[in-house]
């Protein structure tokens, strides 16, 4: 699997937060709920980051707009801390629900970033208009920022404001990349094969439409 710079930087981001004795902030955005594959993909990445923060004894803060995501994230992080042998360090209060309102959520996370001054910020999930507000506030506190989303409109904001950006499918491939699980890597491979087939189909369709063999122009 090719190297994904944003995921390679995860270790560096958590290490930086540990050295600076500041927390890591992770948020999945306001745009998605637990039914969305992007949110599931984001929680998979959260699991790996939580394990790293547990190993380094670094605080992880996870604000969210959705109480269902909060409940699932608490379990995911608890499991990661347990896997790292640091189960007693897990704090349920750090995985918190802030507001279901879009700008209420943006204001709450913005406030957390300003007050806690996290050394590393992960913005991974489905984002809408709040994306740039969070990324810019993160920038002002000097945090290293790793972002990724399936919202194509918000990608441009993340590319401009963040240090690393996972573009679309990279968010979904992250789970395989981080875990190196053979079955997950196989599904990423299948995804690539399908993409090649779609590309071949598109090129074939363009050629077909351009040449238009059914019109009979080639007969003379």
């Amino acid at each position: 699997m090719r190297e994904i710079a944003g995921l390679k930087a995860v270790e560096e981001a958590v290490g930086r937060a540990t050295e600076m004795a500041r927390p890591v902030l992770y948020t999945p955005g306001w745009g998605g709920d637990i039914q969305r594959p992007t949110t599931i993909a984001s929680l998979n990445i959260l699991s790996h980051i939580a394990e790293k923060t547990a190993q380094y004894d670094c605080r992880l803060v996870f604000p969210t707009h959705d109480p269902v995501i909060m409940a699932v994230a608490q379990e995911v992080v608890r499991e990661s801390y347990a896997r790292a042998g640091q189960g007693d360090r897990f704090s349920e209060d750090d995985i918190c629900y802030v507001s279901s309102s879009q700008f209420g959520y943006a204001a709450a996370v913005e406030g957390m970033i300003t007050r806690l001054k996290p050394a590393s910020i992960f913005l991974l999930g489905t984002f809408e208009a709040e994306s740039l507000i969070l990324a810019e506030v993160g920038n002002t506190v000097g945090a290293i920022q790793i972002a990724g989303t399936d919202s194509t409109i918000q990608l441009a904001f993340f590319i401009v404001a963040c240090d690393y950006t996972l573009i679309g499918e990279e968010v979904f491939a992250a789970s395989g990349y981080l875990s190196q699980d053979a079955s997950i890597l196989a599904s990423v491979r299948a995804q690539d094969v399908l993409k090649i087939l779609i590309a071949i189909f598109l090129v074939g369709a363009i050629l077909w439409a351009t040449i238009d063999p059914t019109s009979g122009w080639w007969r003379f």
Binding site: I40, P67, S101, F103, I133, T152, E169, F172
Partner: protein, 207 residues
């Protein structure tokens, strides 16, 4: 078993709803509606309760510890005052609940949204520094779009709008569609991994 059972439920519901979604049968439509709307609302209502309890506990704990007290108190006042106003005076057009919504909550949300204008300016300033070839392409495309959206574009060059439209419709749309194909396939494989039980992170711990 604590992981196996939810996994089976997830797979069962996932594949059933997948089949039901593509079926035109009225019973299939009714199942889809019941599960996606009815069940989801019930689950969300209970989860919201968990969220509110967690929010209140988190803020009360912070107040007790003395950290960011003014913000925590403001949060709790907001959390409890709205249901209080709704329960006592109702939510009709001239009730205090609607007044607070119209004259406190909406202006505050608009204020946060308005911040975006300043953030767009500061992010653009950084992003449009032509330090590399991609950044230069970004700068030129942005300038083309910006100028084409103003009256200046057509004054400078009659076909300015057409050029900017071509940039949006051809190279920009092609890149966007390529990303969207990747996202579609990524969503599909992630969903399949969850339904088949290959991806179990969301299940949390065994104990």
């Amino acid at each position: 078993m604590r992981r196996r059972f939810p996994q089976i439920v997830c797979g069962l519901f996932g594949f059933t709803l997948f089949a039901v979604y593509f079926s035109g049968h009225p019973i299939a439509g009714a199942i889809n509606e019941t599960v996606l709307r009815g069940y989801w609302q019930i689950i969300f209502a209970f989860a919201l309760l968990v969220g509110v309890v967690s929010f209140a506990r988190f803020n009360l704990g912070a107040i007790a510890r003395g950290s960011d007290r003014p913000y925590r108190i403001a949060s709790l006042v907001g959390l409890f005052s709205m249901p209080f106003l709704a329960l006592v005076w109702g939510i009709k057009g001239d009730s205090p609940f609607i007044w607070v919504f119209d004259y406190v909550q909406v202006p505050m949300q608009s204020t946060v949204f308005a911040l975006l204008a300043f953030f767009v300016a500061s992010a653009s300033l950084r992003g449009f520094r032509a330090r590399s070839v991609p950044a230069t392409v970004l700068l030129v495309s942005a300038l083309l779009t910006l100028i084409s959206r103003s009256d200046l574009g057509d004054v400078l060059f009659a076909e300015f709008s057409d050029v900017a439209e071509w940039v949006r419709d051809a190279p920009s749309m092609a890149a966007r569609r390529a990303i969207l194909i990747g996202i579609g396939l990524g969503s599909l494989t992630t969903s399949l991994r969850v339904l088949l039980g290959l991806e179990r992170t969301w299940l949390g711990s065994d104990s």
